[in-house]
Every structure is written in structure tokens, then in C-alpha cells.
């Protein structure tokens, strides 16, 4: 429309105004002067507008495309970052100020699925990690932190600049190294302490037999040898328990991956406790119709159940049955309850039961051939499987040990 309008059109309007003024009785010269001023200014305006950048609708069109292009490019960069970090097996987190842009699968497994898009502090809240994130500059920086993801874990975090206001944090898991050395010292301490007693009695009896001036009475010799055998067997059990415990400690940070149907596994372990001919069975086993699968380590889960049933048989009353019940637990878990009926455990002891070599009754445990490690092993197996262990007991009624493991949805 504007294109069709010639500048002369404005002169016609001006002339019209002059005619009106003249008719109204204003002096002709003044009117003509006004006409020149008005007309001139309109033409000047027209010229000036011609020099201006293109009109509004075109003004908007270009930046819209630009903005979209910029957004596209940004998205492309983010996708590229996502794809790149995803390719690493080390946990990697890419962040800018106040926001995590990308976290790879390993990082999400270590810190939680929710962290992408959150404030970096939500993912890494350890004060030194916060300092590492907040103090981000164009320098590389590194920090080693304890207890970041779980108690006893050890992580080395390294921050590297990726570009303007963008950084990557690489996480290196040092827990296993730290644990192995600690497990090693623990092993030596525990083993030497617990092995000393049986070893002393073995040496004592053998020495007596060896240094006797004349051969001892056959009955006495037999009794001595019996004691030596019993003590040696106890040491053997202790050593094998300590070995499995230190094995468990060493791999407690590798989540087991095997798919296991707990019903079948439990039935197999309960089968091991089948009575010898002539005795009546003492272990009752109940399981639901449904398949209850978990991810786990079959050997360790078997050992867990074996230890629990063994304990229940040892500490429950001899003439009462032990029940093993496999049930569906709350919130997507599988629960195994092992219940004995007997003296029960005083509430004071309950918090300490899973400590190594903790015994509520030293002499009774030794008489029953316990190593003091059974429940410690159970606790470690449960922890490695990301499960929970609960022990409930009532004096004079009995004890129920419950293990809950995250259920694997079919």
C-alpha cells in the first residue's frame, strides 16, 4: 500500500489545507508559506522513511529464525554432550552454574536417576564437593571424598573446564582399594584374636601327649585327641568364615547381576537340612505361588539362608520347629523370614548381633560350635544385595530374622 503512494499525494493534502485556510480569510502569502512548509516536511518524512530498515513484519521474521537456529544448535550441543558422556564407563557429570546438563548412566547409578537438570549441589552435597562445584574456574581441580555415596565409600572427583561456563566432573571410585586394605587389617586382627584360644588348647593337649614319659591310658589319649579334633575343626570353620567375610568385603561395591528365583533357591537350601532317617523334620518352608526373582549372587544367598537356618536350629528349642517363610514384602521387595521358637534374645543385645564375634552367651555359642561370624556374614550379603536385615525377638517366645531384597520385576 505504501509503495503505491507517491510523494505528490502529500502535496495534494497540503494544497487542500491551504484552500480551506484561504476560504476562511487568512492572507494568501501566509497560506502559501504554510503550504510549502507542510508539503516539504511531508516529502522529507517520506524520503527519511525510505532510508529506514525494512518494515516491522520483516524485522521480526529474521531473529525468529535466528533464535530457533540458536536453540537448535544449543540442543545439538547438549545432545552431543549426552551422547559423549554416555560412552564413558566412569561416572561423568557435565554442569553449568546452578544446573546439571548431563550425567551418564554410571553417574546416575552412583548418584541417583533424578540428578539431570537439578542443581549440582543436589547430586553432590558433600561440603568439599560443593566447594569444588561452586569454585569452578578454568583450572582443573581434584578432591578425594569419603562417604559420598554410602558409608565407607571413597571417591576421587576431578573437575575440568569444558568451555565457557561449562564443566565436567569425572568420578573415580576408590572404595574398593580403600576397603581391601582395611579388610586386610581387620582380617589379621580378628583372626589372630579368635584363633588363639583353640590353638592354645590344641598345643596344650598335643604337648601333653607328646611329652608324656610313658604312654598314657588309652581312654585319656582318646579324649585328648577328641578335644584336639574338635578345636581344629572349630579353627577350620573360623578360617572359612573369615575367608568368606573378607571376600564379601572385597566385592561389596559390585552389585551382583545374576537373576535368581528365590523360591527355588530357598527350597534347595531347606532341602539340605532334611533330617537323617528316623528323626522328624524340624524346618518348615512356605512360599507363595508367584515367582519371586531378585538379582543376586546365588552362592552368597544360599550361605545367608544356611546361616540363618543354622542359627535358628542352634538357638531355638530342640523340640520346636523352625519356619522359613518366603513372602512378598512391601514396596517391591521380597522378604524371607526365618523364625525359631525358644529362649529369644534380650532387646539389649539386638543392636549388636551383627558385629563380628559378638556373642550373647559366649559358652553357649562355643558349645554349639558357632564362630561368631554367621550374622556378620548375613549382614554383609544383605548389604551387597542392597537389602535390609531386621531382627525381632521376644524373650521366651523366639526370634524372627527378616531379610528384604529388592524384587526384580518380571
Amino acid at each position: 500500500m505504501r509503495g503505491g503512494m507517491a510523494p505528490w499525494f502529500s502535496l495534494v493534502l497540503a494544497a487542500l489545507a491551504v484552500l480551506l485556510l484561504w476560504l476562511g480569510g487568512v492572507s494568501l502569502w501566509l497560506v502559501l508559506a504554510a503550504m510549502v512548509l507542510v508539503g516539504g516536511s511531508l516529502v522529507a518524512l517520506w524520503w527519511w522513511m525510505g532510508d529506514q530498515p525494512p518494515p516491522e513484519d520483516t524485522i521480526r521474521a529474521v531473529p525468529e529464525e535466528l533464535r530457533q537456529a540458536r536453540q537448535q544448535a544449543e540442543k545439538g550441543v547438549l545432545n552431543a554432550i549426552d551422547a559423549t558422556v554416555e560412552a564413558f564407563s566412569l561416572p561423568v557429570v557435565v554442569f553449568e552454574r546452578g544446573r546439571i546438563l548431563s550425567a551418564n548412566a554410571a553417574a546416575r547409578a552412583a548418584l541417583g536417576e533424578h540428578i539431570t537438570g537439578q542443581d549440582p549441589r543436589v547430586a553432590l552435597r558433600h561440603p568439599e564437593a560443593v566447594a569444588l562445584l561452586e569454585g569452578a574456574d578454568d583450572q582443573e581441580a581434584s578432591v578425594t571424598l569419603r562417604d559420598l555415596t554410602s558409608k565407607g565409600s571413597l571417591w576421587q572427583l576431578t573437575r575440568r573446564p569444558l568451555g565457557p561456563d561449562r564443566w565436567a566432573v569425572e568420578m573415580r571410585d576408590r572404595s574398593a582399594e580403600a576397603d581391601i586394605s582395611r579388610a586386610h587389617t581387620d582380617f589379621v586382627a580378628n583372626a589372630s584374636h579368635e584363633l588363639r584360644t583353640p590353638l592354645a588348647s590344641v598345643i596344650g593337649y598335643v604337648e601333653t601327649l607328646f611329652e608324656a614319659k610313658k604312654p598314657l591310658d588309652e581312654a585319656i589319649t582318646k579324649r585328648f585327641l577328641g578335644t584336639v579334633l574338635r578345636e581344629a575343626k572349630r579353627m577350620q570353620a573360623l578360617v572359612s568364615d573369615l575367608m568368606s567375610l573378607s571376600q564379601l568385603e572385597a566385592e561389596k561395591h559390585d552389585v551382583p547381576t545374576e537373576r535368581i528365583e528365590l523360591g527355588a533357591l530357598a527350597a534347595r537350601v531347606v532341602g539340605e537340612f532334611a533330617p537323617v532317617a528316623g528323626e522328624k523334620p524340624r524346618v518348615e518352608f512356605t512360599r507363595p505361588e508367584a515367582m519371586l526373582a531378585v538379582t543376586g549372587d546365588a552362592k552368597q544367598l544360599e550361605q545367608l539362608l544356611r546361616n540363618l537356618i543354622d542359627n535358628a536350629l542352634k538357638y531355638g528349642d530342640d523340640d520346636k520347629n523352625v519356619t522359613v517363610a518366603l513372602v512378598e514384602g512391601p514396596r517391591g521387595t521380597v522378604q524371607i523370614d526365618v523364625t525359631d521358637r525358644g529362649a529369644g534374645i534380650a532387646p539389649d543385645h539386638l543392636p549388636h548381633l551383627t558385629r563380628r564375634f559378638y556373642r550373647t552367651d559366649e559358652s553357649r555359642s562355643r558349645a554349639a560350635g558357632g564362630t561368631g561370624l554367621g550374622l556378620a556374614i548375613v549382614k554383609h550379603v544383605v548389604e551387597r544385595h542392597r537389602g535390609r536385615l531386621d531382627i525381632a525377638s521376644e524373650l521366651g517366645v523366639g526370634t524372627t530374622v527378616s531379610v528384604r531384597l529388592p524384587r526384580l520385576s518380571a
Binding site: 546452578g98 558433600h126 561440603p127 560443593v130 514396596r331 539386638l350
Partner: protein, 227 residues
């Protein structure tokens, strides 16, 4: 992830509110661990570190208050956003209390004598670990907005309480047998009490997390057993 809002600045503010809570939580977690370490090892340096860092927790609480009030005033959040802001306000208060308990443990650590021969002191770390684990897990539940693991934390408080009862009895009999240790033992009793309170506060945070995530109060809040 929670849906984005039209006003980008609102997302940024909510994000930094969550970030502040996480930062407070990290400090509180560390304070618990280090105060108990200080107690067991008798390290004055560690204890002083805990006491000094508590100021930072207090400062962060003030920041959370300010930001929460600002969000409510300027953005008028509704529904889950409002719950989240209110929960953040309350959680900040609770974390500040937890920091205070840890500071108190650190302060008492210098007053315990003869820690080498003082047997009950070996029970405290195990209890502290239970409480610290509750705090750690509840903060992770907060970060993930995970109501299920929040309820799981609430269930665990009973274990800490049982531990407290056990330590209490143990300590009383120890005091009767060794009257010379009564001063130290009394301090240790308060330490155990503090840890027990930390467990309770972790439960309170879990209730807030549960409420923010589901808009319902946790059953535990409605039918809490009388103590």
C-alpha cells in the same frame, strides 16, 4: 523430572532452593561423622572444625528462609511447588537442629577423660553410623523426591531408639561399677541422647519429604506411639 514452568526464573529459584537444602544436608552429614570421630579419637582439631562449620549451616538456613519467602512473595507458587517450598523451609530448620546436635557432641568430646580405658565409648560409633545413615538416605530421598525410601527411613528410627536404650542401660551399670567415670559417662549419655535426637529429626525430614512428594501426611505422623 518435574515439568518446567513458563517463567524460567522460577525454575532457577526452585533449583537453587533445593541446592541450598542439599548443601546444608551435606554439611550436617559431615558434622555428624566428624563429631563422632572427634569423640572416639579425642581429636580436638576435628571437634573445633565441626564447631566452626556449624556457623555455615546457620548462614545457609538464613539463606533458605530468605529465598523461600521471596519465592512465596514474588511467584505465589501453588500445589506441588508450594509444598516443596514449605517443606524446604521446615527441612532447613530441622537440618540446623541436627547441626547443633553434632556441634554439641563435638563440644563434649573434649570433656571425656580416659577414653582408652572407657569401654562404653566403643558403642557410640555404631549408633552414630545408624543415625548418620538415616540422615544420608533421607537427603537422597529428598533429592529424588522419593516417598518410598522416605517411609523406609522412618521405619529405621526404631533401631536407633533400641540402640539408645541398650547404651543407656550399659552406661548406667558401667557408672555403678566405676564411680570415678561418672562425669565422662554422663557426657557420653548426652552424646547418645543427641544421636537419638538426630535419628528423630531424620524421621521428621522424611515426613516432610513424604508430604512434599505425595501431598499426604505419613501414617507415622498421625499415629505416633507415645514416648
Amino acid at each position: 523430572m518435574v515439568a518446567e514452568h513458563t517463567v524460567k526464573a522460577f525454575d532457577v529459584e526452585m533449583g537453587s532452593l533445593r541446592g541450598l537444602i542439599a548443601e546444608m544436608g551435606g554439611l550436617a552429614e559431615l558434622a555428624i561423622g566428624e563429631s563422632i570421630d572427634a569423640l572416639v579419637k579425642g581429636s580436638d582439631e576435628l571437634a573445633q572444625g565441626v564447631i566452626a562449620r556449624d556457623k555455615k549451616i546457620d548462614a545457609l538456613e538464613a539463606q533458605v528462609d530468605q529465598l523461600a519467602v521471596q519465592i512465596i512473595a514474588l511467584r505465589a507458587p501453588v500445589a506441588d511447588d508450594l509444598r516443596e517450598v514449605i517443606a524446604a523451609l521446615k527441612i532447613a530448620g530441622i537440618l540446623e537442629r541436627i547441626g547443633d546436635y553434632a556441634k554439641n557432641i563435638a563440644k563434649r568430646s573434649a570433656r571425656i577423660e580416659n577414653r582408652k580405658v572407657f569401654e562404653p565409648i566403643t558403642l557410640i560409633p555404631a549408633m552414630g553410623e545408624l543415625a548418620a545413615e538415616m540422615v544420608r538416605d533421607v537427603l537422597t530421598a529428598y533429592a529424588a523426591r522419593d516417598a518410598a525410601s522416605a517411609s523406609e527411613v522412618i521405619e529405621r528410627d526404631a533401631k536407633v531408639d533400641a540402640f539408645y536404650d541398650s547404651i543407656f542401660r550399659n552406661m548406667v551399670s558401667f557408672m555403678m561399677e566405676n564411680p570415678s567415670t561418672i562425669t565422662s559417662a554422663a557426657h557420653l549419655l548426652f552424646v547418645a541422647r543427641n544421636i537419638e535426637r538426630i535419628g528423630d529429626h531424620a524421621t521428621n525430614i522424611a515426613e516432610q519429604v513424604y508430604y512434599a512428594a505425595t501431598a499426604k501426611y505419613h501414617d507415622d505422623r498421625l499415629e505416633r506411639p507415645e514416648n
